[in-house]
């Protein structure tokens, strides 16, 4: 993107009321029309992958959980699935069902949070307040089940920590009824409010081919008709016993992304009800050794934002050799940059929030090999020093 010096650059970030986390977007504008866009990430890099190498397998479970606050459970689930694959253990079905239940509850929570934030970016503060008030219901449910509203820590290597009792199941059913009614109302608001439609229809339209070309994943791609969902393509946990339907939409614009996410919320509610009614009996955990056998494993799960990929390599000791995390938001940035051109400046915050960005998830550091340099391995101290020097 060449910068024409006659044009104007509007920086959104690193500090900006539109962003919930720091990132630097630069939009070249001509009046109100955007003519170019570029992005700089990396402000929230914490060195988690390096930190994983100095902690034991059990301790890493909680480190991986804290990569993101909204999708913490799926990060932990992806990690345990990879480790269990390496160790060659079979987790009891009841544990997997409870993991799936927590994951779907988290999906509802994430989509309602996103609805509020995206409405706030569009100036619709009322929808923001109301959807976040109703989100408290799902957070209360998660607190009753797990003991914490964020970072549920439900997973153990080899199972789950707690069980769903019949009283809890009744409470969850009651909460789900309330959530379903409120989400139907929000679907009505999103699809019929004239001012809101004026802000979202035909904004950032992406055809199916373009979505596949740019590599978009998650609800962003599903709104353009790309029917890709890891829960259906490569089922994990108990998704074969309790399947979900892939929700797609054909319009491919911002409006479609709203509709896809609210429909996914309904699907999650339906699956949770099914799991509660047909919960498999059995143990909650199985034994996993302290030293995981050497090998490599890849685990993929469907986070609320798209496909989450973990690559775990073990050298047979108590600490992992390498844990590599590829989060879904990383794939969707290119869609923002290419769709921004031609739109108005006022649409930029909504376009950004339309892909449901999670900046803390996706900051990783990659060091490129230049010329004849061999591969370098950095120690924790060296990485830390580099980060400090970089921003001086």
């Amino acid at each position: 993107m060449t910068a024409d010096t006659n044009k104007f650059v509007i920086p959104i970030g690193p500090q900006h009321p539109a962003l919930k986390e720091p990132a630097n977007f630069e939009f070249w504008v001509d009046g109100e029309i955007v003519t170019g866009a570029s992005v700089r990430l990396g402000y929230v890099h914490r060195g988690i992958e390096k930190g994983a190498e100095v902690r034991t397998w059990t301790q890493n479970l909680y480190l991986m959980e804290r990569i993101c606050g909204i999708c913490s459970h799926v990060h932990a689930t992806a990690y345990t699935l990879g480790v269990e694959k390496l160790a060659g253990v079979e987790v009891p079905p009841r544990a997997n069902a409870i993991r799936q239940l927590m994951a779907e509850l988290e999906r509802i929570h994430s989509h309602m949070l996103w609805l509020g934030v995206a409405a706030h970016e569009g100036g619709f503060d009322t929808l923001f307040m109301y959807s976040w008030r109703d989100r408290e219901t799902v957070m209360d449910l998660l607190e009753k089940i797990s003991g914490n509203k964020v970072h549920y820590s439900a997973n153990l290597l080899g199972g789950v920590k707690f069980d769903i009792t019949p009283e809890l199941a009744t409470e969850v059913h009651k909460g789900l009824d309330f959530l379903e009614e409120r989400n139907r109302f929000y679907l009505k608001v999103v699809t019929t409010d004239e001012t809101f439609i004026g802000r979202t229809r035909d904004i950032g339209t992406m055809t199916t081919e373009k979505a596949e070309f740019l590599g978009a994943i998650g609800p962003t791609a599903r709104a353009s008709g790309v029917a890709r969902d890891i829960r259906v393509d490569a089922p994990y946990l108990t998704y074969e016993q309790f399947p979900v339907k892939v929700m797609t939409h054909t319009s491919g614009d911002l409006h479609g992304r709203f509709i896809v996410r609210i429909h996914e919320t309904f699907e999650s509610i339906r699956v949770i009800r099914e799991i509660l009614d047909h919960m498999p009996q059995g143990d909650l955990t199985t034994r996993v050794p302290r030293r995981i056998p050497a090998g490599e494993a890849v685990s993929r799960v469907e986070a609320p934002r798209g496909e989450l990929l973990y690559f775990i390599a073990s050298n047979g000791s108590e600490k992992p050799e390498r844990v590599k995390v590829r989060t879904p938001s990383l794939c969707n940035w290119s869609t923002v940059l290419s769709l921004a051109i031609g739109l108005k400046l006022a649409d930029m915050p909504m376009l950004l929030s339309g892909i449901d960005p999670c900046f803390s998830c996706n900051d990783r550091s990659i060091s490129l090999k230049r010329g004849q340099q061999g591969a370098q391995v950095w120690s924790w101290e060296k990485l830390r020093q580099y980060g400090i020097e970089y921003y001086r």
Partner: protein, 138 residues
């Protein structure tokens, strides 16, 4: 195509109580499974230190007074703890639990966050030894 579908909800809210909980004047009871402060019962502890090994945040330290007679003191750092309950699961003798009543742990200094658990006489002995060691160093 309608204009203002939220208006009926808005008007109803005018006559309802606000959804805000006026904490700290109104405190709703915490759910049973809430993961609050760590509590340790030294009765069954064998000193295996699995909780220490598994803690992701290095929040627990087990001080051995007398290993043969199973006298231990636990030094718990509430400010390091991430309240994940891994230690509760790791302990095979059910010595640990996370309280659901004690969770308002904010303090203005570091001192209230360093807690010692154990039997009264053990802690007294430990404090004497620490004071003596401090006096010798000074």
């Amino acid at each position: 195509m309608s204009v203002g579908p939220m208006i009926s909800d808005l008007l109803r809210s005018l006559f309802k109580q606000p959804a805000t909980e006026l904490y700290p004047f109104v405190k709703t009871p915490a759910p049973i499974r809430l993961r609050g402060k760590l509590m340790w019962d030294p009765t069954n502890c064998t000193g295996c230190q699995l909780c220490v090994k598994d803690c992701p945040a290095n929040a627990i330290e087990l001080i051995v007074i007398d290993k043969a007679n199973k006298r231990f003191i636990m030094n718990y750092h509430a400010d390091h703890c991430i309240y994940c309950a891994q230690c509760v699961v790791s302990c095979r003798f059910n010595c640990l639990r996370l309280s659901n009543e004690d969770w308002e742990l904010a303090a203005a200094q570091k001192q209230p966050f360093v807690m010692y658990y154990g039997k009264e006489e053990d802690i007294a002995l430990f404090m004497e030894q620490a004071a003596k060691a401090g006096a010798e160093q000074a």
